[in-house]
């Protein structure tokens, strides 16, 4: 139950984010309006906010000329007229400052997220992709395992033979094998994928385990990796494993058998933080998703 002060605080927070200034991701001027929006051309922009959310909204006619990367601030203005003559007001945005150079200067490094299964690597990655908007991209994972219908990671499926070839030619710079009762699953990263993202001025995000991390360290160099270890909440190993267990169960992607396997692997994963401390720059507890993602963004932006 929300008590009065916390309710008000929350309302204030929502209100603040709705009235926050944003940045133009893209914009266009509409010349053939749908019914109710009049005959005069108007500009609509996709606007991104600090917290990673985006909106579609009209820009006002006053203010500076729109530009990708320009800053905008909300105003309440007439947006359309209903058939019965009533006027609808909604939030429009005024361009208040020209585009600045992107704040994040991407040096050639990758952001690596390491942690046991169920700690939230996928969810954090997805949140980070939103937070960084077009500045970050997840590096595709090459795998020999059979495709599943409801895939959440950007997998590229290859045969074991192809996997060996890529390793032999040195194109694959990191690999790992997941022992499983049903099939041998191998996962790897290709160097050219990472380089292509660097060339496009983007920050590559890799989801790793300790073996993938070691491979990346060996081939890219330790300094080219901003390495974050993710820990489940809990101040003892038992508590951590128990919270992983609950998360794996509640996300409903694995059978009980698979969850048991994953927990076994998780034990080694957690031990790796202690065995290879030099491979990690930061260890973060993923207790609350937004807080954790925000902290990682802070680390990237310096």
């Amino acid at each position: 139950m929300l008590n009065a002060p916390s309710l008000h605080r929350q309302l204030k927070k929502t209100h603040a984010s709705k009235n926050a200034d944003g940045t133009i991701v893209s914009f266009t001027t509409i010349r053939n309006a749908p019914k109710g929006f009049g005959q005069k051309p108007y500009t609509v922009a996709l606007i991104a906010f600090e917290n990673g959310t985006k909106v579609m909204a009209q820009l006002t006619e006053d203010g500076l000329a729109p530009q990708i990367g320009a800053s905008v601030s909300p105003r309440l203005r007439k947006i359309r007229t209903l058939e019965n003559g009533l006027i609808v007001y909604d939030r429009k945005y005024v361009v208040i400052a020209a585009a600045r150079e992107p704040q994040i200067k991407i040096q050639h490094y990758v952001l690596a997220l390491t942690g046991p299964s169920g700690v939230g690597k996928t969810t954090i990655t997805r949140t980070l992709l939103h937070l960084f908007s077009s500045y970050a991209e997840q590096v595709p994972i090459y795998t020999t395992r059979k495709p599943k219908r409801e895939e959440v990671e950007p997998y590229t499926y290859i045969t074991s033979k192809k996997f060996d070839e890529l390793l032999a030619t040195g194109e694959m710079i990191a690999e790992t094998t997941m022992q499983s009762t049903t099939e041998d699953r191998r996962y790897g990263y290709i160097k050219s994928d990472i380089e292509a993202m660097w060339n496009a001025g983007k920050l590559p995000i890799v989801v790793t385990d300790i073996h993938l991390l070691q491979g990346l360290e060996k081939n890219l160099g330790r300094r080219a990796i901003l390495s974050c270890g993710l820990l489940p909440p809990g101040n003892s190993r038992r508590r951590m494993l128990s919270s992983l267990f609950h998360r794996l169960r509640s996300r409903g992607r694995d059978t009980e058998e698979q969850i048991k396997e994953r927990i076994e692997v998780a034990k080694t994963d957690l031990a790796a933080f202690e065995t290879y401390p030099h491979l990690f720059d930061h260890l973060l507890v993923n207790d609350e998703l937004d807080v954790c993602a925000e902290r990682i963004r802070g680390l990237v932006e310096g």
Partner: protein, 374 residues
């Protein structure tokens, strides 16, 4: 696929402003021609799937499954599917499910749309129902507007120029010259495209597929055979609004559907000879080719600067026309024509064809791979 699904035949009406037809007559003509081309009896059809987006809104006629059933002598069971501009592709996918589950042995899929009876203003509004009514429509955004945002961002990220972009529609128009069913049969020079009326900058009139009437029908079967088979059928989905996505210049649904379809069909990207692509707007064609892995991000335009692949030999949505519900079905008809050497703009020795159909700003992607069994 769990069963061998053969494409027995298919047909389409002419696409365009068809003042002499109503929605039902379009369906009648496409169905009759498809049955004839498949060489079957109407009573061989066990089920019908109808693809249509706006019959209820624009023509005042919903319940199109029942209508399609009523024009066959034995009134087979029928249903209608809607997935915005991907209605056709999703209808084919639905037909595959009926065939794979042995619910039916031969299925008729018919897609139809009749749009030119309504005013542009009304159509613009009705098409926006493919967007998110809270996140997109409230701001007065239109579909050309959505793809205008995409194009503007793409140009910013990849340095694509206005004159380069014009090569896309120019090629599609050139391809349609020999297609008797196409809405336009006129070659258009890139300079004319670059200076056509602005619709939602940087997109101009000739970057946009037209508002069209038309229908297409195809007959799929597991009990009868033909030289052309459907090797893969996949549908992928994402958030409706761009405001909820991470990327504005790449569509996850196409990437996912393509990976899964190649896997299912057991063919390589290089094996594909012909592509019918969802070029609702010129910029979309470039993004789709990149997302399907035929070009690197930002380099899709190279496929139009030096064509090395048969992309939209029919003219695509731009030149052949885009009667929304019919489009995804018509793509299968065109692939079937290419593989049976019946196409007006025939690709030499085509044995594998791909149909790529999206709904909205690729919130749905339906992707099919067809091949000859030769």
């Amino acid at each position: 696929m769990q069963e061998t699904i053969s494409v027995l035949g298919g047909s389409q009406t002419k696409f365009g402003e068809l003042w002499g037809y109503d929605l039902k007559e379009l369906i009648d003509e496409a169905v009759a021609d498809a049955i004839r081309s498949a060489g079957i009896m109407p009573t061989d059809i066990d089920a019908i799937v109808v693809a249509n987006m706006m019959g209820s809104d624009v023509n005042g006629q919903g319940h199109l499954g029942a209508y399609a059933s009523s024009i066959l002598p034995h009134h087979p069971p029928a249903l209608r599917v809607e997935a915005a501009c991907a209605s056709g592709g999703v209808a084919i996918h639905t037909a595959c499910a009926l065939l794979e589950s042995n619910r039916a042995g031969t299925v008729l899929v018919v897609g139809a749309e009749k749009l030119t009876d309504a005013s542009n203003e009304d159509i613009t509004k009705a098409i926006m129902s493919a967007g998110d009514n809270e996140r997109d429509s409230a701001s007065g955004l239109t579909f050309p507007g959505i793809f205008g945002l995409v194009a503007n961002r793409y140009m910013y990220e990849h340095g694509l120029t206005r004159d380069q972009l014009s090569l896309v529609s120019a090629l599609h128009h050139k391809n349609a010259v020999t297609n008797p069913y196409a809405q336009f049969h006129k070659e258009i020079a890139p300079e004319v495209i670059s200076t056509s009326a602005l619709v939602a900058d940087p997109l101009r009139l000739l970057d946009c597929s037209p508002i069209s009437d038309g229908a297409a029908a195809v007959i799929l079967s597991t009990t009868k055979s033909s030289p052309v088979q459907l090797l893969a059928s996949h549908v992928a989905n994402d958030h409706i609004s761009l405001a909820d996505r991470t990327s504005v210049t790449s569509f996850m649904t196409t990437r996912n559907a393509m990976e899964r379809a190649l896997e299912e069909a057991n063919v390589k990207r290089e094996d594909i000879d012909v592509i019918e692509l969802h070029d609702c707007f010129s910029i979309a064609a470039l993004i789709h080719m990149e997302d399907m892995g035929f070009a690197e991000a930002g380099r899709g335009i190279e496929l139009y600067q030096e064509p090395r692949l048969a992309v939209n030999p029919s003219g695509g949505l731009k030149a052949c026309g885009h009667p929304i519900g019919a489009t995804g079905v018509k793509q299968i008809v065109d692939c079937w024509k290419q593989l049976t050497k019946k196409a007006p703009n025939q690709t030499k020795d085509a044995t594998v064809a791909l149909a790529h159909n999206i709904g909205g700003v690729a919130a749905t992607c339906a992707l099919h791979i067809l091949a000859t069994n030769a």
